[in-house]
Symmetry: D2
């Protein structure tokens, strides 16, 4: 299973080449991740507060195929990638909604971070179970 969310390109996301700035695709992916979490009934903030862990990125990769422009709706798709006790990978694709054209694809690798020791830690099992059940 995959998680999919549509979002409009905002004017502020574009640059003087009249296309979306490459760094903003990572922000679209994060917005999709936030919506995935919301659909599962929790937020990053609750993860921070209830589990005393954060889930920062340890790797980010994106391959760009075609630019998004103002006026476009983009479709972000999240898939479950490789998973260890402490890390998890979201594989993503961003498409132009109007014709399904692939704009870019890549992944984000997240890690459990203990907010007391500020060291890598195991991702909470129930949290992971929810994400896995949504994406697998």
């Amino acid at each position: 299973m995959v998680f999919t969310v549509d979002m409009p390109v905002r004017w502020v996301d574009t640059d003087a080449l009249r296309v979306v700035h490459y760094s903003n695709y990572f922000r679209y992916v994060e917005a999709a991740e936030e919506e995935l979490y919301r659909s599962l009934g929790f937020t990053f903030k609750e993860v921070n507060e209830e589990y005393k862990i954060a889930i920062p990125r340890v790797e980010a990769f994106c391959k760009y195929n075609a630019p998004a422009r103002f006026g476009d709706i983009v479709t972000v798709t999240l898939r479950l990638g490789e998973k260890t006790k402490k890390t998890m990978r979201y594989d993503f694709e961003i498409q132009r909604k109007s014709d399904g054209g692939l704009l870019c694809s890549g992944y984000l690798k997240i890690i459990g971070l203990d907010l007391v020791t500020w060291k890598a830690t195991t991702l909470p099992a129930d949290l992971m179970a929810k994400i896995v059940s949504a994406l697998e």
Copy 2:
């Protein structure tokens, strides 16, 4: 009449005080303006291309009452303010959706800008008529 749109606070919108950075409320207002235009059947880009005008801001004002935080949904309300041949004002309010608490309020004043001469110009009558009919 007013135009109202809800949007989630994104993680990237927050700062190290754990609240939304003050500059981002202006971006929420612009996102609402984009949705207003979309609801009326056009985009900033089409305004640029069809009328050969842009509609940049000449004034921006915001008074901040309370902070938005990650996890909040904010409701942006746009009202029609003062209007001249060349300028138009959007008065806005941003509220916390959960309890209606006022987060901030202010206005954006826009102007018609001729993209050939790069000088102030009359706002296109049909475009203004659409916006006015939606907001008045």
Copy 3:
């Protein structure tokens, strides 16, 4: 006295009209404010930690005269505006460095915010004295 700092327009600051997005001028002003503080020997973070106060904006205003473009260096000038026990205003101007052309001007009004009660509080006297001595 005034505080002045030059900074380059970044590509990511521009939008599809090939000019700096209007929200980013507020970020230039904040960057200047950060450099003012650095020149006085402290940071926002230290204000948070040592005084247990934050200094959020309660009002932001900007009047736009001309656009900055990629390749421009902008000069941000900060002046001391109206001051009360709990609030202080920075009046700002942003100019194009190459010819001194005025791009925009406005102000930011800041307030002391007690980080324990999350209520308005007096701005620390020694902190204000430093800022006043730099700007008055």
Copy 4:
């Protein structure tokens, strides 16, 4: 040879975890790239206008080791990576200036893009020669 530039972490770059948002490191790298170009006597805009090409990113990768925080100065180092007729890779490292601690490292792969046909094209030889002479 490498190109190195220092820049302060801005308040707006941080997020509610009180660290720099992961997407912003890509913006630091781009700022360094802009300074490299400036040091060689040209800008992205001139590349667009004089050569009728753009140099968008086709791949972006970053591995995160430690977070930057508000108050930090970061040092961005650019090195020349793999090079073909149409593409070039910048390998980067971002370090905390105070102690040299590695914050993140990665690369950006850029491509020549013909702004008339909007297709991949050879990177201008004189432009590449300048960059290569600065980084090799």
